[in-house]
């Protein structure tokens, strides 16, 4: 690791922020999209799904988790675009710290997801969602969501490094929907056929959603899921983080 690891990572983070400033519309769209989903499921499509209590109390934490999962495609798209641009060659031929490109990517994506969470929580409160949680539990829930996002981020980077082509991003963008919906984000497994309920309960995203619901003190929460919501993302990170870093270093074949 070079002495410039921090400076270089910061320079690369600034690059991403400069992209935001150049394309504010894209940033706004990416923040509005989950809000639209929340409104759609809250008012148009949802309406219960055998949830006890208020559906909005069930839905909002689910949407928070779903938004974190969907972050994967944004990361993958950005990394794929970068790799297919010549600029990555310039970075690699410069005396900069090895991981700075990836660290910049993850810092910017985490910042965007944090803003996304704030917006979505605000809209949720506006819709009448009321978390019954102390500040510690509230922050714990946000922490679990961001941890899950961080895991998705490195999965996304690895997928981009392996697939490397824009067509593959499109495939992932489509596949992320059924995988995201095969969870308890929108509906409780109890309302599903038995086998489907099992699949849904094993989805790492369901673990995060259940733990977050528990911490927010809403319906659908089960105590004891916090561990699962830590272990799953950490497990994914243990696998995908080194894979992605090694893959990036090995770009020179």
């Amino acid at each position: 690791m070079s002495a410039y690891a921090l400076t270089d990572s910061w320079t690369m983070t600034r690059r991403e922020l400069a992209h935001w400033a150049r394309q504010p519309v894209q940033v706004v769209v990416s923040l509005v999209f989950p809000v639209m989903l929340l409104l759609m499921f809250g008012y148009l499509i949802g309406g219960g799904r055998a949830v006890e209590g208020d559906y909005v109390d069930y839905l909002v934490p689910g949407m928070l988790a779903l938004t974190m999962a969907f972050g994967l495609e944004g990361t993958m798209l950005a990394v794929t675009q970068d790799l297919n641009k010549g600029v990555i060659d310039r970075f690699r031929s410069m005396p900069m710290a090895d991981g700075a490109v990836l660290v910049g990517r993850s810092a910017a994506d985490m910042l965007q997801s944090t803003i996304g969470l704030v917006v979505l929580i605000g809209v949720g409160l506006g819709l009448g969602w009321r978390p019954h949680a102390g500040p510690g539990q509230f922050l714990g829930a946000v922490g679990l969501l961001l941890l899950f996002r961080f895991a998705m981020l490195w999965v996304g980077i690895q997928l981009a490094l392996v697939a490397g082509r824009p067509e593959m991003v499109q495939a992932v963008q489509i596949l992320v929907w059924p995988v995201g919906f095969l969870s308890n984000a929108l509906a409780t497994p109890a309302a599903m056929p038995g086998w489907l309920g099992v699949v849904v309960q094993w989805n790492p995203m369901s673990q995060t959603a259940t733990a977050v619901r528990d911490l927010f003190g809403g319906p659908g929460g089960e105590s004891g899921h916090v561990w699962a919501a830590v272990v799953w993302p950490v497990g994914l990170l243990v696998v995908f983080f080194p894979l992605a870093v090694r893959r990036f270093r090995g770009l020179g074949g």
Partner: protein, 347 residues
């Protein structure tokens, strides 16, 4: 050796399967050796470039030029051989190499979404100039490459020539000891080409070593002190541009007739060494090497008139890369590597 800026000894690089196709895609060339998906891009290449000189690497598409530049600039690991840049090994001392090089690749290595100034500032920071110094340097370079006015616009909106100039500026952020230019003028119009050439000339005065790949003999002629001709991953000839040209037979005269039927008569009639005259019936063309340009031209025109042979065009020209290759390798393999597979090992 101490005075060598670049030393390459017996370098090999083979692309296999998927990887090979990917690399080829970037170069737009076909696998040359016939075996499926496997391509020997460098096949025992040797090269030595003295400090402070401009060295041209001349060869057709797929000859291994881009692979060579990517190996020298630490973007690609050679399979075997010794590769040293500025006295440092590209594998074990990549960082030391990166501190001392600038790279202008075939495709613009710029952030298209950002402005020109933002790009240069970012590269300055990544070279650890510090924020203030990076800004000063960015302004200097924008001024020098006549980009100051468009510095804020995203690179996406730049013309090809502007993009290439910015790319060149980006590779000069730290005044590198050694600069790699991979086909710097391919795809540029004549004006863009002239701009890049004058920029390269001004660098050489500053003591920078330049390694330049090109498909054009003229470009090597204009810029390079020495030229290595590369074919199928190895150097097949090197020397000064004049040496290479004289080996190829120097200038040529081309005569295009109205009637292909008169080609035979023309060969017999014209004051040209009959053994060296090449005839192309489809293009109604005959072509021959000349030593004294003006004597040959006036002699040919007079002979055509006196013989009553109707000519469409008579022109003097420099040898083309095609002819350099024909001469050096015995296989006519100019700008395109497509028919390479048919030709047996020639040298």
């Amino acid at each position: 050796m101490a005075d060598a800026a670049i030393t390459v000894e017996d370098a090999h690089k083979t692309y296999g399967g998927k990887e090979g196709r990917k690399a080829e895609g970037a170069q737009g060339a076909e696998g040359g050796d016939g075996s499926k998906g496997v391509k020997k891009a460098l096949d025992g290449l040797d090269l030595r470039v003295a400090r402070g000189t401009v060295h041209g690497v001349l060869g057709p598409n797929g000859a291994g030029k881009t692979t060579l530049v990517r190996v020298l600039s630490t973007l690609l690991r050679p399979d075997s051989g010794r590769v040293e840049v500025a006295g440092y090994d590209v594998l074990s001392e990549a960082r030391a190499v990166r501190l001392r090089i600038g790279l202008l690749g075939q495709h613009a290595a710029l952030d298209e979404e950002l402005g020109g100034r933002q790009n240069l500032e970012m590269f300055g920071r990544l070279h650890h100039l510090g924020g203030r110094q990076a800004r000063v340097r960015a302004d200097e370079l924008l001024e020098r490459f006549d980009l100051a006015e468009t510095g804020r616009k995203p690179v996406r909106s730049y013309s090809g020539g502007m993009r290439r100039r910015l790319d060149l500026a980006a590779s000069l952020v730290t005044a590198p000891e050694i600069l790699f230019l991979d086909e710097p003028t391919t795809g540029l119009d004549p004006r863009g080409r002239a701009e890049v050439w004058s920029a390269v000339r001004s660098l050489v005065g500053g003591g920078t070593t330049v390694l330049l790949t090109t498909q054009y003999l003229e470009e090597a002629d204009q810029l390079a002190d020495r030229v290595s001709v590369v074919d199928r991953g190895r150097v097949i000839a090197d020397g000064t541009p004049d040496e290479l040209k004289s080996r190829t037979g120097g200038d040529r005269i081309d005569v295009v007739l109205r009637d292909a039927g008169q080609l035979g008569a023309a060969v017999a009639l014209l004051p040209l060494p009959a053994a060296d005259v090449r005839v192309d019936t489809d293009r109604r063309l005959l072509s021959a090497p000349v030593t004294d340009r003006m004597t040959a031209l006036s002699g040919v025109v007079r002979a055509l008139e006196e013989g009553g042979i109707d000519a469409e065009d008579v022109a003097l020209r420099r040898p083309t890369l095609d002819e350099v290759f024909l001469h050096l390798t015995g296989h006519g393999d100019g700008a395109d590597a497509g028919d390479r597979a048919n030709v047996k090992e020639a040298v």
